[in-house]
């Protein structure tokens, strides 16, 4: 008996979701087994702990939702580029540049102009900075057809080093290599707390961008052009779409939304800038976007899943006094299953008996 793998011609949405749910359950079972072997504890209490870590208290719930919001915004930013098959893995750099622009406004304009003006300038400059960081590789791609995977990736390093440079320029106290909270006493340039809740702003922005992106991709001419370019550039040219223009326009949008994420991270959440402020989410966002098949609504769940597991897994380490590496192992197992299950959604495995008769 042998087996062979063939591409599925089509698969119903419900069947695809059944496969995904099986994968998640399998991942949790494997996590449970691994944890039980390592700790000798009851798997049910482990899953309770995961939930406790993400939603154990009101504060924890809000923190989780805020993390989801930021990751979701970055993932949404990358999505239009991916949809037109432009591999923007430069989200990290675009977020950092947005954050750097915000921080620059907060630091240099603090005593010079009123708070409202600082905030308006932060919004404009961070969107611009992110957009420019997306525009540069897009221009190279559109004009000279350079490989955008490499150029966007390289732009990340430039952004990181620029931030590192300005951290030294603005460090407080001298020589310490960190800026600390900017305008801690005056709160100049701190984005407003919606209804007195410091986590809500990011969540609201994320909701707005999610809805906006959903409409943009699904119901606008731009969104349609992105899909056509993504399917085939030749077809797009044939029907009269200016491919170069679409690439440039989409990457400006992609970078600009990353810039907004940077603005929220610096102006709304951390009130400082460091080289690690986006914490690899420019890359995690790639995964969120892919797992959701570029659907903004589905992305809410994929980003929630990743943050939920992340915070939950660290709570396991907490309660069971394990090193942080153990949390990473569990997260790794879960991502392996989730990404791996996409294989079974796209392909089916048929077992073939020696006589050539196929079985399920």
């Amino acid at each position: 008996m042998s087996f062979h793998v063939s591409k599925r011609s089509d698969i119903t949405t419900s069947k695809a979701w059944i496969i995904r749910i099986i994968a998640i359950v399998a991942a949790l079972v494997v996590c449970g087994i691994v944890t039980t072997i390592c700790t000798g504890d009851n798997p049910i209490s482990i899953f309770t702990t995961i939930f406790q870590g993400a939603f154990g208290s009101q504060r924890k719930t809000f923190i989780t939702l805020q993390y989801v919001a930021i990751l979701l915004i970055i993932s949404l930013a990358l999505t239009p580029a991916f949809k037109m098959q432009f591999w923007n893995i430069g989200g990290e750099g675009q977020v950092l540049m947005g954050g750097l622009a915000s921080a620059a406004c907060m630091i240099t304009l603090a005593d010079k102009v009123p708070n409202a003006v600082v905030i308006i300038l932060m919004i404009i400059s961070s969107i611009l900075a992110g957009a420019i960081w997306g525009l540069i590789p897009a221009l190279f791609k559109a004009l000279w057809n350079t490989n955008e995977t490499l150029s966007t990736l390289m732009m990340n390093y430039i952004a990181t080093q620029l931030v590192a440079y300005f951290v030294i320029v603005w460090e407080v106290p001298k020589g310490s290599g960190k800026i600390g909270i900017i305008n801690q006493d005056s709160n100049v340039g701190w984005l407003i707390n919606v209804a007195g809740n410091k986590y809500l702003l990011s969540i609201i922005v994320a909701v707005v961008i999610t809805i906006g992106m959903f409409i943009y991709l699904k119901y606008t001419k731009h969104g349609y052009e992105i899909s056509v370019v993504g399917e085939s550039q030749n077809t797009a040219r044939y029907v009269g779409i200016n491919v170069e223009k679409v690439i440039i326009r989409t990457m400006i949008l992609s970078g600009a939304i990353c810039g907004i994420a940077g603005l929220l991270l610096v102006g709304g959440v951390n009130h400082t800038i460091t080289t690690t402020i986006s914490d690899g989410q420019g890359f995690t966002g790639v995964m969120v976007s892919w797992l959701a098949k570029f659907n903004p609504i589905t992305m809410i769940f994929t980003s929630l899943l990743i943050i939920f597991m992340d915070r939950g897994a660290s709570e396991i380490s907490t309660a069971f006094e394990l090193n942080q590496s153990f949390a990473d192992i569990l997260t790794g197992i879960i991502l392996f299953f989730i990404i791996g299950c996409e294989f079974f959604i796209r392909y089916q495995i048929s077992f073939v008996k020696a006589n050539g008769k196929e079985e399920a």
Partner: protein, 427 residues
């Protein structure tokens, strides 16, 4: 199409790799001081659940600790051990959160600890300070204590405190061990007097680092007058590769003894490989470097933790700036390694007695020069501000009064003295 597929798999592989890196997360550990293993297994499902375990502890006080890294960092391990020791001795419950970055995560960790009923929250890393202050404003009934910070004396919060120790005294003593080793090498004919060059791997050109390498150098020069020093900076408090490379660069430059102020095992292991004697920091590296380890100075934080626990138990105020000393047991040296020269222990003991008696000051202005001249007056940036305003005269009675409780606990010695050359000042 094939090309397309390989690009996709590359992209997915990239995002998997980075995605996993990005999933690095913090963890939290709750422990009770008494041995309550059975109780812990029964209800070890959540950190909060252990609050009910008060019968097991002798005091209902609860202390929360926030650490930048975990026990793999020598810096954090030093704090973690002290936290265990002090809390177990006092019989109080404690919770630790490791791998908390110097950002909003610190504020959130501090708030979660306060939510969980901690009476004291402590953070160990310099960059945590601003976020601790934010949390202190929100929880006025909880005491927030921070090591190495500079702002408690200007912030005006009753429940926010800084602490540090006169580690420059420990560095000076470790420097004596280094000087003795240089003398031994000179006597053995391995090096000439002029070749007695020390290498030092620093993190940033920050006062704490400058104070550290200068006191170390002054200690070494007090016994080996021909000693000079080269310093390199890594631009990170914890970067194993950069620290290793820094040490190798110094060794190539002809440095015959290495010390460091950065938190990984990078420099000590590079020394062991090259066979160059090393004076470590934060704790003994004798296990990893049996042949080259001389001695290590470190701050023992247990006395401070005991102090804050006692203060809160007795309802007393915690000092805004607390400075641990040789007397409080906060500044300690490890046992000498096999690489230490003969007579080192005696020389160190003698200097230690002189320091305790107040006859020996590390930064005695007669022992060093700045640009060829004695330093008779120096205004230091004690009150932290964005313009680095020099605001306080710190030379008193003929010495630079480092980590003086009246000024602030964290170091502010940032003078470049003669005899030490900096290889790079980018950081």
């Amino acid at each position: 199409m094939k090309k397309f597929k390989s690009v996709v798999s590359l992209a997915i592989a990239t995002c998997m790799v980075f995605g996993l890196c990005a999933c690095g997360s913090s963890n939290e550990t709750t422990e009770t001081s008494d041995n309550t293993e059975t109780a812990a297994t029964e209800e070890g499902t959540s950190a909060e659940a252990e609050e009910t375990e008060e019968a097991a502890v002798t005091s209902d006080l609860k202390v929360g600790f926030i650490f930048l890294h975990d026990e793999n960092s020598t810096y954090d391990l030093n704090f973690i051990n002290a936290a265990k020791e002090a809390c177990e001795a006092a019989g109080v419950e404690y919770v630790t959160k490791t791998n908390i970055p110097e950002g909003q995560e610190c504020y959130e960790a501090a708030c979660e600890l306060a939510d969980a009923g901690c009476d004291i929250v402590f953070a160990d890393s310099f960059g945590h300070e601003d976020y601790m202050i934010e949390a202190a404003k929100e929880f006025p009934e909880v005491q927030f204590c921070h090591a190495t910070g500079t702002k408690a004396h200007t912030e005006g919060l009753d429940n926010y405190h800084n602490a540090f120790a006169t580690i420059y005294e420990g560095r000076y003593l470790a420097g004596i061990a280094a000087g003795m080793k240089l003398n031994e090498m000179i006597e053995a004919g391995e090096i000439t007097e002029d070749q007695a060059k020390i290498g030092y791997v620093g993190a940033y050109t920050y006062a704490e680092v400058i104070s550290g390498y200068t006191s170390f150098f002054l200690g070494a020069r007090s016994v080996c007058p021909s000693a000079t020093m080269e310093v390199t900076f890594t631009g990170s408090w914890y970067d194993e590769t950069a620290e290793k490379e820094g040490a190798n660069k110094l060794i190539e430059n002809g440095c015959v003894l290495i010390s460091q102020h950065a938190d990984s095992m990078g420099a000590p292991t590079a020394c062991e490989k090259a066979g160059v004697p090393d004076v470590s920091y934060n704790g003994s590296t004798v296990d990893a470097c049996p042949n080259t380890f001389i001695v290590s100075s470190r701050i023992d934080w247990a006395p401070y933790f005991s102090y804050i626990i006692d203060c809160v138990t007795n309802g007393e105020a915690i000092a805004t700036d607390w400075v641990g000393t040789l007397e409080t047991g906060s500044v300690v040296l490890t046992d000498l390694g096999s690489a230490a020269a003969e007579g080192t222990a005696e020389a160190i003991a003698e200097a230690e007695e002189a320091m305790k008696a107040g006859t020996l000051h590390v930064f005695d202005v007669t022992t060093f020069t700045v640009d060829g001249a004695q330093l008779d007056s120096y205004m230091a940036d004690v009150d932290t501000d964005a313009d680095y305003t020099a605001d306080t005269e710190v030379i008193t009675d003929g010495y630079f009064a480092e980590s003086n409780e009246e000024f602030r606990s964290a170091p502010y010695f940032d003078v470049q003295i003669d005899g030490i050359s900096l290889l790079d000042e980018a950081y």
